[in-house]
Chain length 253, copies 2
DNA sequence: ATATAATGCTTGCTCCTGAAAGACAAAAGT
DNA sequence: ACTTTTGTCTTTCAGGAGCAAGCATTATAT
């Protein structure tokens, strides 16, 4: 592999992941860490990135793609952790819904090595992530592509309602409160998720701790509608009680 | 093999793979590395590529996306030219179908700067390419994701048939013959394209010269069904006559 | 047949990569 | 707060792969 190829790969990885480590790059590219460091050195000089201990991060304020990612990328570590936990609840033979959220995108990465599963999604990013996996049956709802990189609109909703059923659903939202339930700020996404909920047996709500207690304007579902809530740390006691009361199982590990 | 042939091969390979090495080229072309280096030198002067140690990579800004997924595309230069011509037939206000082919993917890149157009496609790669364009209304058919990075299956066909209509359609196929018409090797893609054809007013068939005379097993449409055939160079006279006979307008520039 | 261009070959040189050793920084234990 | 430990970084060097240049050879054209 040629040096510029490698460097391009590094920039790609950086844009995709938000950060890269020397050791991981060395492993994925099959060269020594010294070579990676030299590449990073060059790229830093060319203003392509900023080096850090152990790896590199993007230059501040670069590609809009990144800023878009970054905007959504609050609480990334928590989301990755939740995604990992959620993925461990997917087994061979499952048919699952994934909505269009950052957390389910991370989850898709974790699912890549599973075999004999069917994934139905309205997320362009999940599709792109899983489309190369031969052993995963991947189904997309159609519809209008939103700014959110997802398919929305009446066609999407209708196709879910009429054509797709899953035994598990994994989704996220803007917020959740113990009084109101699960809240969303985007009506279109809300419609999609409601249709998915209606057609799935077992519902997993992926909710990083920042979102607990946060209220948004549209109600997506009530707590009683879901079966599991996966989050990154144990919420306050009142919230835990509310979950127990609504028969929602809390998963934090 | 003549020098210009070799150089065309090199550019093709470059576009296909994202990078080329001197040693591999020398082997595939059956010449020494010196000859390859001289070719690369010329091509670099002509701004066709950038040389590096051990090989060459594309000029910055071109086909960056290709390095991500290796494709088996052939005749890349011709396809890009055809894509460019095709894009010049799209105007503000149009609603167009794009199928899932390499040529329409290149075409999508050319469409990025247009405003007020609606694109309906079953190609994941076209979607990914255009999803960041705020000023393009982008619609996806749903369905099963095929190995071809496209949506296929009955759901796709039904959603096209029932929900989508366009004033122009741009598509490609595996081959075309003056006796039989337009041929496809993939039944699923074939079904999608036929449904798109049925729901569009003006049909543009994008056909690089390699495909003329090539026969495949499934008939997609007859020549009389299309309105325009866009290709990279004027075909042989018999084929041109056949087009004229079927009232198909030939576009080569 | 001769001139011109293209290709192949050889030589010395350059650049890239990987390995090793020491410097440095961050994290953890005392 | 200090030291230890661990991991990362820089520097240096050597081997090897790739390269430019000049010349010999072959192909092509006039």
């Amino acid at each position: 592999m040629l040096a510029p190829e490698r460097q391009k790969f590094i920039l790609d990885e950086l844009a995709k992941e938000g950060a890269v480590t020397v050791s991981r790059l060395a492993q994925s590219l099959g060269v020594t860490e010294e070579t990676i460091r030299r590449d990073l050195e060059k790229l830093e000089k060319a203003e392509g990135l900023r080096r850090t201990h152990g790896g590199a991060v993007p230059i501040e304020g670069t590609s809009y793609e990144l800023s878009l990612e970054k905007r959504k990328a609050t609480n990334v570590e928590a989301k990755k952790k939740i995604a990992e936990i959620a993925a461990s609840y997917v087994f061979s033979g499952d048919t699952i819904f994934l909505d269009a959220s950052t957390t389910t995108f991370f989850m898709a990465k974790e699912l890549k090595n599973l075999k004999n599963i069917t994934v139905i999604t309205n997320s362009l990013r999940v599709l792109a992530e899983l489309s190369s996996c031969e052993h995963i049956k991947l189904i997309s709802v159609g519809g209008i592509v939103s700014a959110n990189q997802s398919f929305v609109g009446s066609l999407s909703e209708r196709s879910i309602k009429e054509s797709f059923f899953a035994n598990k659903m994994f989704f996220s939202s803007k917020g959740v409160s113990k009084e109101i339930g699960i809240l969303e700020s985007n009506e279109q996404e809300c419609g999609i998720k409601q249709n998915m909920l209606a057609n799935s047996e077992c519902k997993f709500f992926l909710c990083d701790s920042d979102k607990i207690g946060r209220v948004s304007f549209a109600k997506l579902a009530s707590l009683a509608d879901i079966d599991y809530l996966i989050t990154d740390k144990v919420p306050d006691e009142e919230f835990v009680m509310a979950l127990k009361d609504k028969n929602v199982q809390l998963i934090t590990e």
